[in-house]
Symmetry: C2
DNA sequence: ACCTGAACACCGTTCAAGT
DNA sequence: ACCTGAACACCGTTCAAGT
């Protein structure tokens, strides 16, 4: 606490420090707790001081997305387009899992930043250099959707329900009214756990869908 | 205007009227303009009056999602699982296109409402009744992702840029720094228009990906 | 019992006043 | 030239006071 205060008093603010501070605040306190005012408080400055380094809240969010993108490892050289893309997308996924709020922010941005364009450009380049036509690459990008950024739409967002009794009650309720949902929730576990909403190995499912898509396009590449 | 006033003064508020009013407000003024205070103003009541019919803002948003789901046509009986799912998903897409804000709200909900569960249950039911195993159905649901609700993650959100001069400048800029992105933007048009960010027929792309996924699972069904 | 105004605890951002 | 406090125009929601 005191370290933070002296530290922030010593080194002057910069865009990078502001952005990293915002990412850290979102990581620890949650994205809903991220406000210009609270962020300023973290740096022991008045809210207006942030506007020297960041145009506003929107610019701050854009910058935070860029921080996340920077965590994605560059594509491995010398690999086939398929493994190059797969490796990079799984690296993006690891970055995203470190910052659970990031997918929501990426989705909400109204316009791509240069860093986002550079990332997409590199991803498209992998496919084009691998010999896929521009048209097929376009289809592939659309089919991958948010998977390009390392996530896919969650059918229900993860709700932490650690109370086993409430969980059991919810399972009974589910089975009574939505039997198909209940069946899927219980049969789908890959790790033995079969509890509602958690009996599903998201990583496995992500890779399953990713490979299915990449395989399908590989097949279409050479008819 | 006066009609609205007398109308709202006559008929008492109800949950349904509040939800439909919220959907209408989001449709016309945009989702960012939707606030409890503005919605109350539309009904010529004090903000607190809404809390009689809606638990709060979160409950309001949940209710709005339910309104959208209710617009999706029920599955056609007697069809194969593939066409039944395809038809229903494309109906969901039409509902979503009527309310451009809806995909963002659907994504943001922390927990599924009973109506959401019922929708997913019906969708799963189509696959299970069609003979797909529970495991394969689970994979399919994950692969479809947000497509189940009629949308897919936009790589860049649609930004209206009607100024053709600025558009041309942006295209040159894009080509210089992000050649792969520029190529895709220009070659991908299916309707002749080849302008940055708009040269892409989203409906075509949606159906392409949807069919690719459904075809792949049909192939896996009978090995 | 029902409704409601004022108030609370927040926002992002502007802007003029201070140094 | 730089920084900053107060202020503006909003939020969602609480709560006690009025009818």
């Amino acid at each position: 606490m005191i370290d933070q205060m002296t530290n922030s008093a010593r080194t002057p603010l910069s865009r990078e420090r502001v952005l990293l501070g915002a990412v850290a605040l979102a990581d620890t306190a949650g994205i809903d707790s991220l406000s210009m005012r609270k962020l300023a408080q973290d740096f022991d400055v008045v809210p207006m001081a942030l506007y020297k380094h960041v145009a506003g809240k929107e610019d701050l969010l854009d910058g935070m997305v860029d921080v996340i993108l920077a965590e994605i490892e560059p594509p491995a050289p010398g690999a086939t387009w398929k493994t190059a893309a797969r490796t990079r997308i799984l690296s993006a996924r690891r970055a995203l899992l470190r910052h659970p709020w990031a997918s929501r922010i990426i989705e909400s941005r109204p316009a791509p930043t240069p860093a986002v364009l550079a990332y997409l450009n590199a991803m498209i380049g992998i496919f084009r250099d691998g010999g896929l036509s521009a048209g097929l690459t376009h289809h592939l990008m659309h089919t991958l959707g948010s998977r390009i950024y390392g996530f896919s739409q969650e059918l229900f967002n993860a709700t932490a329900t650690p109370d086993p009794q409430a969980l059991a009650a919810a399972a009974t309720e589910l089975a009574a009214h939505f039997p198909h949902v209940a069946e899927l929730a219980t049969t789908a576990s890959h790790d033995g756990h079969s509890v509602v909403g958690q009996g599903c190995d998201d990583q496995y499912e992500f890779e399953f869908a990713l490979d299915l898509i990449l395989d399908a396009f590989e097949r279409r590449q050479q008819p």
